[in-house]
Each structure stands twice: as C-alpha cells, then as structure tokens.
Symmetry: C2
C-alpha cells in the first residue's frame, strides 16, 4: 500500500525499564512508524503492583496518616519509595520520548497507569482504541512460564487489535542449515 493511502493509526507501545521494552520501541520506530505518517504513537507505562509494595507494610491501608496504628514505614521512607517509583517512570518515559525525537508529524503521547500490567495493557488497548499493540518480550520463556505470568502472552491472547511481540534477536545457532 502506498504511503499516501495509509490511514491514521494509533500504535500503543508498552514501555518499562527493561532493555526488551526499549528494543521493542526502537524496532517499531524503524519498522512500523514512519516519519511523515499521521500515526499517533502512545507510550504506555504501567506501574506494576510491586511499585506499591511498601503499602503492604501499612496494615491499615491508610498511607497518609503516619499516626495510624499499624503504620510501619516512616513518612520519610514512604516518600522516598514513592519518589523512586516516580523517578523510574519519568526516566523511562523521557528515554522513550528521546528515541522518538526524530519523528516528524507523528504525534507522541504518554500515558501512565497503575495496576497489573497485563490487565491494564489490555484495558488501555481498548480504551485508547489502538490499531496495534507493541510489546517487548524477555527471552527466558521456560523460566517465565514456570515462575511468572507472561504479560506478552496474556495480551496476545486477550487484546482484540493486532499484537506485535518483539523479541531481541540473537544470532541463530546453526543458521543456514
């Protein structure tokens, strides 16, 4: 299809602090998004639950009142952890936006959400009306299946739009055989 006849697309890229996610964004910029298209690129960062793990120290669930019985972390420690969590988000999104700086005409938007990444990514694909979801993938499939939920697997089964899973390519052993 010619460049001119392409419709405006909304490409959602799930980014996080992993190399795999940055590689997926980089690959998309080279292969999916083009400088002079009218695409919208949406960088989605989902703060996973472990970013809020300190909340488990607070048996009351009331984080803003250090006087509440059961509050274990000092206000300073809570604030420091919150700041670190926000710094990670800012750092990832700044890095992602720098990678997109050469795009002309393409609109680049950022979106920060909290929750279980696999659920939030699926939900945001729907809410943001994405035409394509791009995700990185770690290359430790066996370990991942044994110990973790696979976010990319879950999303590829549950998101309704096309899903591009970008795995960092390694040289094939025995290539050419």
């Amino acid at each position: 299809m010619s460049e001119e006849s392409r419709k405006e697309r909304r490409v959602l890229v799930a980014v996080d602090e992993s190399d795999e996610s940055m590689y997926a964004l980089s690959w998309s910029l080279k292969n999916i998004i083009f400088q002079n298209s009218s695409d919208t690129l949406i960088l989605l960062y989902v703060k996973p639950h472990h970013h809020d793990a300190y909340a488990t120290f607070d048996s009351t669930g009331i984080m803003d009142d250090p006087q509440t019985p059961g509050h274990v972390l000092s206000p300073e420690a809570s604030a420091a952890i919150k700041k670190y969590s926000q710094d990670v988000v800012d750092c990832v999104l700044q890095k992602s936006k720098r990678m997109c700086k050469d795009l002309e005409n393409v609109k680049v938007e950022t979106q920060i959400e909290s929750g279980n990444p696999k659920d939030v990514i699926c939900e945001m694909s729907r809410k943001l009306n994405a035409d394509l979801l791009v995700m990185g993938s770690h290359d430790y499939a066996a370990m991942k299946r044994a110990f973790f939920d696979s976010v990319s697997e879950y999303c590829s089964q549950n998101v309704k739009c096309p899903v591009l899973i970008v795995r960092k390519r390694k040289p094939y052993a025995g290539s050419g055989n």
Copy 2:
C-alpha cells in the same frame, strides 16, 4: 525512520485457507509492507498433517504400491485426495499473490512445506532468516486452549524474530467506557 533509510526486510507471512490468515496478510500489506520498499515478502503455506490423513488408511505406509496388503484406499481415491490437497494449496497461494499484485519492487516469494504447522513455521522463520513473522489468529481463544494447540501462541513463544499476531478486529463491547 525515513523510508529511505530502512533496510531490506524479510517478512514471512504464514498463510492458509482461513479468513484469519487472509486478513493477517491484508493487514500486513496495509501496515507493514510498502510498495516501494526493498522488502521481501515470503508467503509460507504449511500442509498440516491432516492433509495426509489418508495415509493412516494405509497400514503399511507404502502408498505408492496399491498391491501391498493393508492398502485400503484405491489408487484413484488416493490420487483424488492428493489432488484436493494440492488444489487447496494452489488456491491459497494464488489468492495471496493476487492480494500482493499492487506491490512494486517488493519481491514476493512462496514456500510450501509439510508438517506440524507450529514446528515448521518456527523452523522456516529461522531458515529463511525472517525479520518478522506475521500470523493470523482465530478469535475463539477459550475453545482453542481447551481443544487445540494454538499455533500463534506457540510461535510467539518460540520464534526468535518479532512476531505479529493479527486478530480480526471486532467492535469493542462497551467501547468508550
């Protein structure tokens, strides 16, 4: 990235007789492959085992000798089934190539293999040095997980290059909520 600076890519599209696979090819032609690129588009058809199901009627495994004891199908029936199987392949590849007829400069190649589709698709991605594998996906995930191996799930976990899974998009229920 600008159109000029893109490197030649080898895009492997797994095609079969399903609407989902034709939709995946169509989506790729609109979104991944561009007319004046130097991409190579490889249309891969994998004859699944059930195409050769008639072989199970032959307890000897010697299909070419109708005199061999245990041969149940007549030579005519075997030939008819073989011809039907080949007709399906030809029909899918002809339809796929017609869909690509407007591509200029893009090289379109076809490849026919036999075996278990998920294994063959992974193997051919490696052998053909694909930069991207595109697959369709049926939208009956729950049933598929219960009764069938999912080819697209398996490949997305085992192929080393980026994998694009194209699901036929349906209007979202409750969109905009």
